[in-house]
Amino acid sequence: MKACLTIVSVTLLLAAPVFAQATKAKAQNVPEIPYESVPNFLKLPPGLYLGESMGVATNSKGHIFVFTRSANTRLFEFDQNGKYVRELGEGNYGFEFAHSVRVDPSDNIWAVDEGTNMVIKFNPEGRIVMVLGHRPDAVAGAVAQSPPPNVPAEKYILGRPTDVAWDAQGNIFVSDGYINHRVVKYDKNGRFLKQIGSEKPGSEPNQFNTPHGIAVDAQGNVYVADRANHRMQVFDNNLGPKAIYDNIGDSWTVCISPGPHQYLFTSNSNPNGNAPGSWDITGEIYKMELDGTILGRFGHASKEFGGFQVVHMMDCRNPNEIIVAEIESWRVQKLLLKPQAAKVSSAK
């Protein structure tokens, strides 16, 4: 029990921005992919602001969904040119502290909220059609953060979930999260099938320490950003272990591009708080083959336009047009990559 408590405390420290660690990626001599950031990409109407930009995703029409922490957590839709379209789910029961948004192949919009512990599925019209998880009961009053040890993970209760993905059959995979440290597989109707990991963090294979992002490839393999373990874990469709990629720093978020040749993107985001030296060893995004081969990297930590301030999520529907949401700059940038011009920089 004591050991468990210690682990939990360590987890709390890692989750707290000021103590977040920066991990230098082991990968060396990675080609630098040049890119430019599109100026004034998202055009917000007067009086509308993004807060911490936690989630970003596009649908099949190229519309962009941004899940943001303003004074209240809000979900906005923009068209492919960045023009504001509408707000979704305004004031709904599940919006409290944004974490992720993803769009499935049928253009349903899925929002993951780590404040209400909910995964909320909106249909393309913006109506809620399914929810996963259960919001803590308000009648319990104002409750401080749940003290450790964590209660055993339940099938249908999520503990600060972080992300969601689907396979070709529509099975749902949830990375869960900051309190639990597991990946849950549900069928397309939201019925529990299986989990890997548990309520306890761990660093062995098949254990997680803050599974922070998730993506599924066309074959149904599951890629999990195992952030505080400084790695990505890959599983087959039944959540059996396949591979571990541990040369990419802290995997904050993953994205897999569609199409016949899929690419994998992961961000070694600079940690919250901008501790001294952290910008020198973090901030870059890796472009990889699904087998873990690193093709290139791009981006760096900075508060300036074109640089990154804690990338929290990426959209890679077009692998050469990456849309990134950043926590600490309250913005979304569209990056145009020029992979053909990638070069190994002597400085790196």
Binding site: V18, L48, Y49, T116, V143, Q145, S146, G273, A275
Partner: protein, 358 residues
Amino acid sequence: MRHKLLFATALISGISAIAQTVPEMPFDSADTLKFPANIHLGEAAGVATNSKGDVFVYTRTGHPTISIGTARPFAHGGSRLLQFDKTGKFVREIGQDSYGFLVAQQVRIDPQDNIWVVDQMSSMVIKFDPNGQIQLLLGRKSESERLPTAAPGRGAGAAEGPPGGRGGRGGLPGAGAPQDVFQRPTDVAWDAAGNIYVADGFGNSRIAKFDKTGKFVKSWGSRGSENGQFNIAHGIVVDAQGNVYVADSGNKRIQVFDRDGTFKTQFLNVGSPAAICITPGAHQYLYSSNSNPPEDIDANGEIYKMELDGRIVGKFGKAGKLPKEFGSVNAIDCRSENDLYVGELGNWRVQKLTLHPK
């Protein structure tokens, strides 16, 4: 050296003596800001003008609310940033529904008319361009707030981990962490090169310096009363030469540093400076408010006008609730040497003052 010290002592005591016979400066006050019917000014923590004379007010219009039925206690809202034109007509609100607007502390306008907001509870410094778009953020709001106890039956009394996003671990008390993590910051200023200086503040006791891109450069100070230490660094301004003036309110002094944080001198004759302002132009002056505490209007309240070397030119005003009286002045705008705006916490108002120098 000894001679120099003696001289300095003489100078300081001399200034203190002069403070007893400071000339009163006559002035008038006007209530110029016109509010839409559905907007009420709360505590007027910050007030500042831009180059066109537009007036920006950062105000506490409501307390932040904490949501229940959540994984952690989250804080929402509480402050608003309002813009008026030079005649006092309401122009617009900026930063509506902002994640960082919890407890207003200060607003300042830089030479390019960018609007900088300092929020004491989100511990953030937020830079808006003149169009009201966010350009730069320093610090990060704590993801959640601490509640004293857990609910019964849920392991009551178990301590939460350290609140996220707050500095100060290790090092001297109040020295903070060498990064842009603030603890109840109070004010922001810039030098001619665009370097950013943040007074940090109530929780920490330091000045943090960033380059114009927001990259951390250095910080100095810790909690205490020695030279270079602070007991609530409550305000900060930088003069045209890059000297940094810090309203060290708990120590009842203004400390002056060079741009690298090297202590130069201190002014001990202006009470407890809560708000500080420096005029632009060839001959710069300081204004500093010996603000009354919110719970007492029978003491202090006067504002001093000073030369940059600390000599007092005059003073005006006193604590109170009437026009021309002040209720815990928290902000002074002095873009025009004789036309000031003061923001008051105690009286929920902004007064426009016109000084009548003899």
